[in-house]
Symmetry: C2
Subunit: 569 residues, 2 copies
């Protein structure tokens, strides 16, 4: 019954699968090979080491109780043999052997397996540009890179940094440079927003503004053409629109799954890379498993193939593989696409599909945006958070929720509650009635998630007809041509400063006085209603609609969203 | 089509149903009656007003944008007529009329309705004891009570307080007295623990100890026999075991649903009180709805009738009623029983059934307990949290999760993610694979919820055989008779202080050295394994089991749980 399991790759999934298997079959043998010297490190922690939040790179390579996860640790504590600096070059499925090369000596060897796990991870996407190998250009892919970057900064060698790519790692690195080290930091992004496809332009702009307020510069819609240097060291980044001086360049343009060895062995691999696995994490060869950053899984919302390289995926998939290696029947059904990222004093999180993603997947989707306090409004330490819900109009199915808020856990907690139910194809009403734990220090009596679903319900019924802050900006910018009547329905004290700044353009009737002051509101112009967060403007919309006004829009998220979004009012 | 809706009760559900209905049917009329002068207040905020966290009682009666929710507000802003100080005395279903009495003048009147909403709430359970009406004895049921209590404290009239009942309100009030005002505070509870039936004795003891460390005294298993006073003012509380001096007494012994008017009208009412409603919140009379603290709903886990008086329920149910009053088809399927409470620097939360509740409901339940960090172990601001999962053994169905942690939102966020899926009858593996958003500032790569489900899986498979800190205490206290061998499997530096204190009783073999030092571990005695949080003791259990040891137990939660639980080691 004793088996020999070989695992190619020793960072996240590999060790997890190895240790799980060994606990289930202690008498079997596991050999894990990795081409580098360093194994089982927390790669996701690298930006926090660069920033200095994590003081020592070795912390990324220890257990939570400070044991170093090195070769000795795996042998003594976990009963797993590890061969570092050993590259797997070929899988011979016929003879069930892996061909290995010692990276240091070049010596070749062969290792037989009963079952094999491909945990080869991913590598940073290279841009294929001149200058990409200059000193000072990095990809942030392992603790050694990170140590080099941090040493450069702490020696004062980095005054200006350019980050290429505004995804998770790009933004985390931008914060690390700008926040802790005061480096002049610029992010160049090929699309028009941060976190493209993951959040809406409205949420993205809120995040971008917060980063700008903390000293980060952004250039969107720009393509890097070259990285230039002097004496072998980077000095400039050239885009299609400008040249940026740079002492350090971080390329954070995504990752490429390491599936070459699988493809060469004849396993089923996605045309764009990534090993295809079934719900047991088994490849097209029943004796070979794959998972983590080198594998393609299923998106539980669209049913399509998905690539989601995250350390958390690798850990959960690793356990499933470990169980199945020992004859178990564990499943990993797929992913819904949850994420969270912190930058400075804000965080952005989401799960499921963004509006753009939903439409690309063929849904007839709409979204609503809500700003509300994260706990009872009378509780002292409350904060506003913004959530956006994406809904399939014909079926009322909730496809995703994304949010922008503080760095407290309140926002990601809401996202996680939605993430938990997405695989059950929830309807809007399932979230209207979601039973979040309530007491004033932790939630409002009507929690923001319930309110968000209620707003979606009202929008689907057509009784709440609104735009987000981006829609408001378009209407406001076109006020001379479109002739919209902008009506602030807060109390006079709140509205007066805007009336003073925009006489004749900004108007005020408090919502409670609308029926008495209808004469002040023109019936022959589109009316745009604004309040603090969108609740009173919705009430006003209902009232005006009842009185026969035909073209009434309310601004979802109100002045709070407008302010976060950054309209100059 | 225009209707007249009458709503009896103006605190949480009533206003919500009224406003929702008016937004859907602005041309219809709503009259809301309430027997008190004060309406639409946040009753759940009262403990925070008493403590001083909320500075002014009026904040409990305003909207999040500081508008006072009084009669004028409801008329002008919401279009709802409110008659305060008006008691509904009888419902005449035949003629569709409500009989009213003016509380001030005693004048009687009659109000016709098309549809009626019973939102009569609940009243505090009285103990039926002598002295219950003495000055200084309160029930914390409305802002007036709270103001009186706080005035008494701030005038220095309260040196010693006795709280009767260790449920949510009792604990919140105990904190309010002890924390902000330094009042000598004692809680008397009839059962053996805080939050009876809601959390396990292990979690309850952790919470209790934290409150004791903050100056609160507890007496469990005691029944209050009398409240005594002098000159009409309370001075003592007499229990079956002792006499406690008291300048203030809070009776927090639960609430009683206000369903008399419904019963007298012949509507279906639960034998122990509470109006029975269907999933549309409709009573046995199709023209009468009920909800909030006066209604009985369905428990989605057991299918039984449930009473869960919480402001959050009232708000969600109120919206459902408002929608249905306007001809809609909204549902409130039932409850899973989510809760969260803060005391001092800790919080306790849960959803679904506790182990005790699950067994009472007929499930063949077991539970596991886990302590883990709330975010990446290398991230600077992490904290430990304790979670307990309750599982039905034959079906692997997850019945509930309860937790104890800091006051950050990380713990309640995990509880909410479980709360969201409980109605789908999830299995353990649904939580093993739950896709919580991951990045180091917010979660571990293997989130504590995933780990908790993995632990339950291992326990169900019989490969992790453990006890919680309460089980450990029983074994340790019986060490002279049971002959257990207590083996600390941490590194020597961690174990040595315990060996010094308990020579011959506490032993140490680091988990990584177990195979080499088997000779030190007796095969003929039960072995109890302890590490920091239970992860290494589980590994050690696997190793010893493989080597033929028959009776090996590991302590779930390890020294961290033992310390929180308060075993004197």
């Amino acid at each position: 019954m004793s088996q020999h399991i070989v695992i190619i790759g020793g960072v996240a999934l590999g060790p997890k699968a190895a240790c799980r298997f060994k606990r289930l079959e202690p008498s079997s043998r596991v050999t894990m090979v990795d081409q580098s010297a360093l194994i089982s490190y927390g790669g996701c922690g690298i930006p926090y080491y660069v920033s200095g939040d994590v003081s020592d790179a070795s912390e990324l390579c220890t257990t939570s109780f400070h044991m170093v996860r090195d070769v000795d640790f795996f042998r003594e504590v976990k009963g797993v043999d590890v061969r570092t600096l050993t590259r797997a070059t070929r899988i011979d499925r016929e003879s069930k052997q892996v061909h290995l090369t010692d990276v240091t000596t070049g010596e070749e060897s062969v290792l037989g397996y009963d079952k094999l796990v491909i945990a080869t991870g991913a590598s940073p996407r290279r841009l294929g540009l001149p200058g990409e190998d200059l000193k000072g250009v990095s990809y942030v892919c392992n603790p050694d890179d990170a140590t080099r970057i941090r040493e450069g900064i702490s020696k004062g060698e980095v005054g200006k940094a350019v980050i290429i790519g505004a995804g998770f790692i790009g933004l985390e690195m931008a914060e690390a440079f700008a926040d802790m080290w005061g480096v002049e930091t610029t992010v160049v992004e090929i699309t028009g927003q941060i976190m493209p496809r993951l959040v809406s332009p409205a949420l993205a702009t809120m995040g971008q503004r917060h980063m700008e307020e903390n000293g980060v510069t952004f250039h969107f819609g720009e393509t890097v053409k070259a990285i230039e240097g002097e004496d072998g060291r980077v000095t400039r980044v050239v885009t299609d629109k400008r040249t940026l001086e740079a002492d350090a360049v971080i390329i954070a343009a995504g990752v490429v799954p390491g599936s070459d060895i699988a493809r060469e062995a004849g396993l089923e691999v996605h045309p764009r890379g990534g090993v295809i696995v079934d719900e047991h994490m088994r490849t097209s060869d029943p004796d070979i498993y794959a998972g983590g950053d080198c594998a393609i899984v299923r998106n539980l919302i669209t049913g399509d193939q998905a690539y989601l390289p995250l350390g958390s995926m690798a850990n959960r998939q690793g356990r499933v593989i470990g169980t199945n290696l020992a004859g178990g029947d564990a499943s990993f059904d797929g992913v819904v696409g949850s994420f969270v990222v912190k930058f400075f004093e804000r965080s952005m999180a989401g799960t499921g599909l963004s509006l753009e993603g939903a439409r690309a997947a063929g849904f007839e989707a709409m979204s609503v945006l809500l700003i509300q306090l994260d706990r009872a409004h009378f509780y002292p330490s409350k904060e506003l958070m913004t959530l956006e819900m994406v809904v399939d109009k014909p079926t009322r199915r909730v496809l995703g929720v994304q949010g922008f808020g503080s760095t407290r856990d309140a926002m990601v907690g809401r996202i996680n509650a939605v993430a938990a139910i997405l695989k059950y194809a929830p309807k809007v009403e399932d979230i209207s009635n979601m039973e979040l734990a309530y007491s004033p220090p932790f939630a409002s009596a009507m929690d923001i998630l319930n309110s968000l679903a209620n707003l979606a319900d009202n929008a689907l019924r057509g009784i709440n007809r609104g735009v987000g802050p981006d829609g408001f900006k378009r209407l406001w910018d076109a006020r001379d041509t479109d002739g919209c009547f902008f009506l602030d329905c807060r109390e006079a004290g709140d509205a007066d400063p805007y009336i003073e700044r925009h006489p004749g353009e900004w108007h005020n009737v408090p919502q409670g006085q609308i029926y008495d002051r209808l004469a002040e509101i023109p019936k022959d112009r589109p009316v745009v209603l604004v309040c603090n967060t969108g609740a009173r403007s919705y009430e006003a919309q209902v009232m005006l609609t009842e009185k026969g006004y035909k073209d009434v829009t309310n601004v979802q998220g109100g002045m709070a969203a407008i302010k976060n979004y950054g309209v100059d009012l």
